[in-house]
């Protein structure tokens, strides 16, 4: 591996070519006690500029910024989390608002201009919907009712909700001015519920299940992986056996058994947390391996040796000295683990395990839609949540990839 070694002073024998791919990342610049190169040379360089004094995070940010796809993905993910937090406000309807008149209503077009006798004027609106039911097949077919015009506006009044459990309001980001009017911009499902609103509410479960699950996996993974990597020896092999054991059990049976074993008196919320725990039981092993690997390589580094020689205690070495030096890797690994969890949740739902209706998650929405009539007749109930899942998982993957590249361009 060729890269610029700015500390040419330390080893005149090692000439390297200035490939210039990136500034140093492998040296733990940010580590406050790293007695080696980073700090010393930052002082020496004089004209060296901020490149050498920048913190690890800053360097990471710089490198991350140039990864355009990852940047865009990051923004997208942020937006999704905004949806999660303000779901009630952003969604025009509640996820369980149903309306018999609009069962399986197709997506309505949002018209920006209204044609009036005086010419067209700006008036965002949706048209009303009419339907006919086929006597024999019982299928409804909808057509827009050109006569009925329902203006669509920002900050309209709709159903009441409590935001963060703090205050009650009925203002919604957008909607029809007439609360009774239909507005199904992405169509309605079999109970006449707004698919858009359901997907927005679905972010609640789907996006947080990944996050919480990963956090739990992370805690387990970092502690056990750290112990394993730092101490090595029999502790390491014991933990490795546990990992080997857990990974030898196929995931699906494990999930099935664990979810089926959940006490049925548990509420959906409890089940939800239990499922995150279950997902993380499998998830932590991967993280533990990453952490362990990093520990193995870090153990040999000078600054750790220095800390040991300083007489620092072992936990202190692990958590103060070693961990911070690869937090960035962990961040990247975590970002890549979230989409796996989201997909796992949908898979669990597919198998009819885990969350079920009336809880609204993307997995539940997909499960509802994964039947032939949905694909053939009402594709929007499938396409909308599928797009949500796919784009989010994609974005998280790109984000994770970008973070990983930024964290350490030379390590997988």
């Amino acid at each position: 591996m060729t890269h610029i070694e700015p500390s040419s002073q330390t080893d005149p024998l090692a000439e390297t070519t200035p490939l210039g791919a990136a500034p140093p990342a492998s040296s733990p610049v940010g580590s406050p006690t790293g007695p080696g190169k980073g700090i010393a040379e930052a002082g020496n360089a004089g004209s060296g500029g901020n490149l050498y004094t920048a913190s690890q995070w800053r360097l990471m940010w710089w490198r991350f910024r140039k990864h355009k796809l990852a940047m865009a993905s990051g923004i997208f993910i942020l937006l999704v989390y905004v949806l999660l937090v303000f779901a009630e406000f952003i969604a025009p309807y509640h996820s369980s608002d149903h309306n018999a008149a609009y069962q399986h209503a197709p997506p309505q077009r949002l018209h920006l201009f209204e044609e009036t006798p005086d010419g067209s004027r700006f008036n965002p609106h949706v048209k009303g919907l009419e339907y006919e039911t086929d006597e024999e097949t019982w299928r409804r077919s909808f057509s827009p009712d050109e006569e009925q015009v329902y203006p669509v506006r920002f900050f309209v009044r709709g159903h009441e909700y409590e935001l963060f459990g703090l205050f009650t309001t009925d203002i919604h980001l957008f909607g029809t001015t007439d609360p009774e009017a239909p507005m199904y911009l992405l169509g309605a499902d079999r109970l006449g519920r707004d698919v858009l609103s359901r997907v927005i509410y679905g972010t609640r479960i789907s996006m947080s299940i990944g996050l919480i699950g990963v956090v739990m996996a992370l805690v387990l993974g970092v502690i056990l992986g750290g112990i394993s990597g730092y101490f090595g020896g029999w502790i390491d092999s014991a933990i490795q056996r546990v990992i080997e054991f857990l990974r030898s059990i196929p995931e699906i049976p494990l999930w099935m058994a664990l979810t089926a074993a959940l006490p049925r008196s548990w509420s959906q919320v409890q089940v939800y947390f239990a499922i995150t725990v279950i997902l993380s039981i499998v998830g932590w092993t991967t993280l533990a391996r990453v952490v362990r690997g990093r520990f193995f390589s870090l153990r040999e580094e000078d600054f750790v040796t220095a800390a040991v020689l300083d007489g620092a205690s072992r936990p202190r070495i692990i958590f103060r000295h070693m961990l911070p030096s690869f937090t960035s890797h962990i961040v990247a690994a975590v970002t890549l683990a979230i989409p796996a969890m989201i997909l796992a949740e949908t898979a669990l739902s597919f198998l009819g395990l885990g969350l079920t209706e009336p809880t609204v998650s993307w997995g539940v929405l997909l499960r509802e839609a994964q039947n032939i009539p949905s694909i053939a007749h009402t594709p929007w109930v499938l396409i909308v949540p599928a797009t949500a899942v796919v784009s989010t998982v994609l974005a998280l993957n790109f984000l994770g990839d970008g973070l990983r590249d930024a964290a350490d361009p030379y390590n997988k």
């Binding site: 080997e244 990974r247 030898s248 059990i249 949908t346 599928a386």
Partner: protein, 333 residues
């Protein structure tokens, strides 16, 4: 070498024991047992199973015995006589049920893996060599899309498309006329006609990960001095990349090849259910659902053993392919 293998096998034994215990335990974890499922199946058609009948079956299947007795019965039969017991639901020996379906599972797994690797290696190599180019972004994107679409969704949609637009007979691996026919060229051709959907679905899910690893590995290797050496010899660029960096970038794959099979078998479950493939996956799922204890337990045990053996094989293979690695070091990897 032999000593090394022997030692590895020895280390595997306690893990194996744990797996067997866990696989048996897992099936018993959910409330009820196979008879509940049986009663539920009858109940779903409004036929009410008599209490006495259930009691008799419980006695007969030994379901009223404590856990350790049941476990011992099961494991001792496996260890002593290779007898995995009877499936309650199918009322056939577990081993014959599993063997019946293993051939197609293996075939599917192997074809999917090869296809996945082929695609992933091509894309991985391309994206590494052309790092940060438009092509890199495009192919990476394509790879990730495969990862991001839930398997069951892709399978279902592909199946509907093939029904709607190709008029192909849906599901399964054979057309009805070949379903129970003996093997022939026609049957083989029929099989391959049916196999593309599952192969694509299974392969796309794994390809992204493989592409990513391949790309990262290759990026590492591309800048290694021996690449420059080869270039200085005047080799053509693509030949050089194929011979040196790609060859070395494959090593980490080989070390994980052993994981592939069990992963595919358990990853194939969902796809096979949707596409109705006569493979082991759906059998396992059914067994788990109906708490068909011996079938499910033996299955999980088998997958666990496969994983362990796979890891071992990987290590041996890696040692064989990469002369730098000494056998002693592999174990502590």
């Amino acid at each position: 070498m032999l000593r090394y293998i022997a030692r590895r096998v020895l280390v595997m034994l306690p893990t194996l024991f744990l797996i067997s215990l866990a696989s048996f335990f897992i099936i018993q974890l959910p409330p009820g047992d196979f008879l509940t499922t049986y009663a539920a199946g009858m109940g779903a058609q409004d036929a009410i199973v008599a209490r006495e009948h259930l009691a008799a079956l419980e006695e007969r299947y030994g379901l009223n015995q404590p856990f350790h007795v049941q476990y011992w019965q099961w494991i001792s039969n496996i260890v002593c006589c290779g007898d995995f017991g009877q499936s309650f639901e199918w009322r056939r020996p577990v081993s014959s049920l599993i063997w019946d379906r293993l051939t197609l599972t293996m075939l599917l797994a192997v074809v999917s893996t090869l296809f996945m690797w082929f695609v992933a290696f091509l894309i991985g190599t391309y994206t590494a060599v052309r790092q940060y180019s438009i092509g890199d972004y495009f192919w990476t994107f394509v790879g990730f899309v495969g990862l991001a679409i839930p398997n069951f969704l892709l399978a279902l949609v592909l199946m509907y498309i093939s029904f709607r637009y190709f008029g192909q007979s849906v599901g399964g691996l054979f057309s009805p006329e070949y379903q129970n026919a003996p093997w022939s060229i026609g049957k083989l051709w029929d099989l391959f006609q049916h196999m593309w959907i599952p192969v694509i679905v299974i392969a796309t899910a794994g390809a992204a990960g493989t592409i990513r690893i391949m790309r990262a590995n290759l990026l590492d290797e591309l800048h290694r001095p021996y690449t420059t050496t080869a270039r200085a010899k005047g080799m053509q660029e693509w030949r050089l990349i194929a011979k040196y960096p790609v060859r070395l970038a494959l090593n980490p794959f080989i070390s994980t090849v052993g994981w592939t099979l069990p992963t595919l078998i358990s990853g194939e479950i969902i796809v096979s259910v949707v596409l109705d493939l006569p493979t082991t996956g759906p059998l396992l799922l059914r067994a788990l659902r109906s708490q068909d204890m011996y079938l499910a337990g033996s299955f999980i045990l088998m997958l666990g053993v496969l994983t362990l053996i796979g890891t071992l094989l990987s290590d041996i293979l890696l040692a064989w392919l990469d002369p730098r690695i000494q056998y002693d070091k592999v174990g502590s990897r």
